[in-house]
């Protein structure tokens, strides 16, 4: 078994034009920064990106949008990105907006080997248009189909050479779900350890779902909304 790649460039080298990608992260938290940079450098285009958000103008998926590498976004919220808005209004970019829980669970279904889920999210709204509605008990549910993605790009805190992953705090978000959902899953980690270094009790994603893993570098971990409590100055009244 050799899942370990030297870097993002090598791990993503065979992603072709027109590929469908899952990208982990919520906002800019827990995004696969190294993989996104490698895609920017490779110039691969016409991508369909399944990602909760679309980054900001100059970071995250925003970097791919700037270079017109994305054909379609499948997301739940895309509000922080002016370039996104421009491309959408000009018709250069296609977007499919879906509820966040539906997005997460359609990834989960793929990894669980289930073709679809029923969810009440979107019943009676435009999200329901063209979808099968089924009543269970006294409530209506929409049939939502599991995603198919050629590659999933995820970011973990720690990983081992077998591809086992541990995530940290809320940077977990959609990462383990997308890790389960990709035909080929590429994980970048802050710390790559030899197999046996991680307590099996602590593993969030078992390595069977992870095909390639590499030690990431240079993480910026940009904060979108820096909200703090000011320390009281003890010398003032």
């Amino acid at each position: 078994m050799n899942k370990v790649y030297p870097d993002a460039r090598m791990a993503t080298a065979d992603i072709p034009h027109g590929a469908t990608l899952m990208l982990g992260g919520f906002g800019l938290c827990g995004i696969p920064e190294n993989c996104i940079s490698a895609l920017v450098d490779s110039g691969v285009r016409d991508l369909t990106c399944i990602s909760n958000n679309a980054g900001v103008d100059d970071f995250g998926i925003g970097l791919l949008l700037q270079r017109r590498q994305v054909r379609k976004m499948i997301s739940s919220y895309v509000g922080e990105n002016a370039e996104f808005e421009r491309q959408l209004l000009s018709g250069e970019l296609e977007v499919e907006l879906i509820p966040q829980g539906t997005l997460a669970t359609r990834c989960l279904a793929t990894g669980y080997g289930m073709p679809a889920i029923y969810t009440p999210a979107g019943v009676g709204t435009e999200v329901a248009e063209g979808k099968e509605v089924r009543r269970f008990g006294d409530k209506d549910y929409l049939l939502e189909i599991a995603f198919q993605a050629d590659f999933a790009l995820v970011k973990a805190w720690k990983g081992d050479t077998h591809g086992n992953l541990i995530f940290r705090a809320t940077s977990r978000n959609l990462n383990p779900l997308m890790a389960m959902g990709g035909n080929i899953t590429i994980a970048e980690v802050e710390e790559l350890l030899p197999a046996g270094s991680i307590d099996p009790n602590q593993i969030h994603t078992p390595g069977i779902y992870v095909h390639r893993i590499f030690q990431g570098s240079g993480y910026e971990k940009r904060i979108e909304q820096r909200t703090v409590r000011k320390r009281q100055d003890t010398n003032s009244t």
Partner: protein, 218 residues
Amino acid sequence: MLDKHGIARRIARQLRDGYYVNLGIGIPTLVANYIPEGMQVVLQSENGLLGMGPFPWEGEEDPDLINAGKQTITTLPGSSFFDSALSFGMIRAGKVDLTVLGAMEVSDRGDIANWKIPGKMVKGMGGAMDLVASARNIIVAMQHTNKAGESKLLPECTLPLTGQSCVKQVVSELGFFDIDPRGFVLRERAPGVSVEEIVTKTAGRLVVEGEIPEMHLD
């Protein structure tokens, strides 16, 4: 009339010890500031956290620890992290006791519109559709009228819906309302607001039964 803090304070009076609560962005977030002393309420953030704490002290921000509004936050004793599917799983399964959301419009059948204005850039629904479709109890915190003075409590929403027949209660700057099959049922007037003003400013079906007490905020 209530300001946004007053609306949040009145909603906080609906909290009970041991509640798991999801607070939306805007006025709902302020509810956290008015949790009664001695009451334990666990805040859920749908990106994957139970037990959301206050903003970090300056210099202690952790980019891996944010809430659903992408703000830096902290954990509390008893907090837990999980993935987004589990997060919406607990919402869908009805484990969250109370959801507080903002709205652009609410209908007298409990429909809610809060994600899209035709002709304006669409940002997306985020987790709002999941929350309104599944929450056991939804309180909406909203302005009673728009800038032109037109009612936002309507017989029928004019904007694209976020969810159908889901809102149970509304708190606006004018009053506290239950929604039942008869429509908006006025329960309390905001301080200094008359029943007549509420009648005038409510376009949806409004039920006024007997004397309507003035609201207490504490």
